[in-house]
């Protein structure tokens, strides 16, 4: 779960990291009120959960009420990279003497948190690391340990900093690690961490992405998770306990397993267009697949459905009953092709077939996709002919 910038800033502030004066708004009027309290000039920052907001016009500066009124009016309701702007964060606009970078993330391959600092902030750290590696320093942290200030100072040692900057930056880094640990984050990042003319540091941006699997035990208050899902179908997917990703096409998918689901999408994508990615994980029940059918069918203009499931940990015969019940109750006019192998496969096939689902018994998903393509094309032709 990635938090909004304003949510992350609240947490950073509570952890002792210096952040700008600020407030969040949902309407132009609120924006003007908040800005009045902060004092002009202010920065207006669209709160959408997507990278590259700035380049897409989502971060603007306003030096007075009129300017802000116009900017906020334009931003609210507009779309940035497909996401509707519903909230704007207003912050004091500060003079920037220099921009730094500080971030910590999970280095999956090393299996450890990695703290990264750079004297060149404000741009993508990956690019800085490639173009000017001497401006980037990193340090792996022992997983069950805290990050001690001396380690932060060691990380920054070769940057040749003044005493006050060394100490202040090491302090921010230590607190960023505490935030990362306490909230079990995947990423905690400040980019840029700016040096003010008075030499103080200020986190004018805040990124905090949490681990969905750890949210249950975070004791500190967290924003509502559902707010994060801007797509209704994806939210519904989470509610029923599956991963649903909304895509542009018209071929529905129900798969058990992320890899299998992705492979299915890849194969569908060769000749058709996938409408969604859906993977059930290891929790298939009769009811779950019934609901998956409901969910997949919510997408308009669907032309066909691929069900691609394995009976390893999943009782696929039970799942098949859920699909059959959905078909019986609602009637489904578009073709459904199912590939279902593993434990209880024959029983599963029988249930699918009785419900009018086309069953493919070969292993390769490609065969099932081909059959679906054929059925969909035939139907289309029939329609066009009709």
């Amino acid at each position: 779960m990635r938090l909004h910038e304003f949510e992350a800033m609240d947490i950073f502030e509570a952890m002792g990291i210096p952040v700008p004066r600020r407030g969040v708004s949902k309407t132009v009027e609120e924006a003007l009120q908040v800005a009045g309290k902060i004092g002009y000039p202010v920065m207006a920052k669209a709160q959408v959960l997507v990278g590259g907001r700035g380049l897409a016009g989502g971060i603007r500066s306003a030096s007075n009420q009129e300017e802000l009124k116009k900017i906020a009016g334009n931003l609210f309701g507009s779309k940035i990279k497909g996401l509707v702007v519903q909230k704007i964060l207003l912050t004091e606009k500060v003079e920037i003497a220099r921009e730094l970078y500080a971030g910590i993330t999970v280095d999956g391959y090393a299996g450890k948190p990695v703290m990264v600092a750079s004297t060149e902030g404000g741009v993508r750290i990956e690019e800085t690391a490639q173009k000017a590696p001497e401006t980037v320093a990193s340090l792996h942290v022992v997983p069950s340990s805290t990050l001690y200030p001396y380690q932060a100072r060691t990380l920054l040692r070769n940057f040749g900093l003044s005493q006050s900057l060394l100490m202040a930056w090491a302090d921010v880094i230590t607190k960023l690690h505490h935030t990362f640990s306490r909230y079990e984050a995947m990423i905690a990042e400040i980019n840029p961490l700016v040096i003010l003319p008075n030499k103080g540091l200020l986190a004018v941006d805040a990124v905090l992405e949490l681990d969905d699997s750890a949210l249950f035990r975070i004791k500190h208050p967290l924003p509502d998770q559902r707010d994060r899902m801007e797509n209704g179908l994806e939210r519904k997917g989470r509610e029923i306990g599956v991963t649903y990703v909304d895509l542009d096409g018209d071929i529905g998918l129900i798969s058990s397993g992320a890899g299998l689901g992705m492979a299915s999408i890849d194969m569908i994508g060769e000749k058709m267009k996938p409408a969604n990615f859906l993977e059930t994980g290891g929790g298939i029940t009769e009811q779950l697949l019934y609901r998956c059918m409901e969910l997949v069918m919510m997408k308009r203009n669907l032309r066909g459905i691929l069900i691609n499931i394995y009976g390893g940990i999943n009782p696929i015969h039970e799942g098949a009953r859920g699909v059959a019940r959905y078909i019986k109750e609602h009637g489904v006019k578009i073709p459904i092709v199912a590939k279902a192998l593993g434990n209880h496969q024959e029983e599963t096939w029988e249930i699918f077939r009785s419900a009018g689902v086309h069953v493919v018994t070969e292993t390769a998903t490609e065969k099932a996709v081909e059959q679906l393509y054929e059925l969909v094309s035939r139907k289309n032709n029939a329609c066009e002919a009709g």
Binding site: P143, S144, V245, A258, M262, A263, T365
Partner: protein, 291 residues
């Protein structure tokens, strides 16, 4: 023969009294695995599928000589069970469950390395040696004995490859699910090393997916160390940036972790890149990989 799992492997099932633990124990026994003990704290003294249940891993080890363990415990309880199992001296651990906190995974991995334990997962189907035994949830019917190794980040895609190979009568030496979480207990190159060293494996299929850098690191390893033929499939070509495709690990961040990038890295090593799983047949013919 096989890697990791052999005739000397005596398996504990942790969480054996749960619904899935019980069913999977039955399947593992049916497949010929030596499941010698179950552990569920507080349920010691009972038995499941004829397997004695103990309160603690230490008792299970002491009383049955178990040396390996497979987990069917809820995600939030895995860290505790893992540390207990390592402390009890078990040297092979397979963590089946999904949704385990990443910060727990980092602790477990550090502890496994410190104590020299070989562990797989999480979110893995486990290990299967066709016709011999399995520590995992793979449906045995899809696999057949032979000389091709499979290592897969995806559970279900390992079944798909097993099934396709078996259909063309190319058997498998060992099938290893390494899991697809951002942090896994053993990385891909370490598993490739085992296959490289295994005299009963003639070639290896790598099944990768978007996210992380396992495949990229594996490419280095293949370049430097592998002598056996390698085929690789990477799922997620159409996965959009910034969307988790099911696994917490299957996430493309900017230009990092894309299927194309991984394919390129692997292709540069001379490995065969499979556009689709079904193309694995061609590769086995090319290298004459038969049972």
């Amino acid at each position: 023969m096989s890697i990791l799992l052999d005739d000397s492997t005596r398996v504990i099932v942790q969480g054996i009294t749960g619904r899935i633990g019980t069913i999977q124990t039955r399947w593992m026994l049916a497949y010929g695995t030596r499941v010698v003990a179950g552990v569920t704290p507080g349920k010691g003294g009972t038995s499941v599928e004829g397997v004695p249940v103990f309160d603690s891993v230490e008792e299970a080890v002491t009383r049955t000589g178990a040396n390996a363990s497979i987990f069917f415990v809820p995600g939030p309880a895995v860290l505790d069970a893992f540390l207990e199992t390592v402390d009890a001296g078990v040297k092979l651990i397979v963590v089946i469950p999904e949704h385990i906190p990443v910060h727990d995974m980092m602790k477990m991995r550090a502890y496994a390395i410190e104590k020299e334990v070989f562990a797989l997962g999480p979110t893995t189907p486990g290990i299967l040696v066709p016709g011999k035994g399995k520590m995992g949830i793979m449906p045995g019917s899809l696999f057949s004995p032979g000389r091709v190794g499979i290592v897969s980040r995806s559970g279900t895609l390992s079944y798909e490859f097993g099934g396709i190979l078996s259909e063309i009568r190319v058997g498998q030496s060992t099938v290893v699910g390494m899991g697809a979480d951002p942090v896994v207990l053993t990385n891909l190159p370490d598993i490739l090393q085992l296959f490289e060293d295994d005299r009963d494996t003639d070639g290896v299929v790598i099944v990768g997916e978007v996210g992380g850098e396992q495949e990229e690191k594996a490419a280095y390893f293949i370049m430097e160390k592998m002598t056996k033929p390698v085929a690789a499939y990477v799922a997620g070509r159409y996965a959009p940036e910034g969307k988790r495709m099911g696994h917490a690990g299957a996430l493309i961040r900017g230009s990092a972790g894309t299927a194309r990038g991984k394919e390129e890295a692997l292709r540069a090593t001379g490995a065969e890149i499979l556009e689709s799983p079904i193309h694995v047949a061609r590769w086995t013919r090319k290298h004459n990989l038969r049972s």
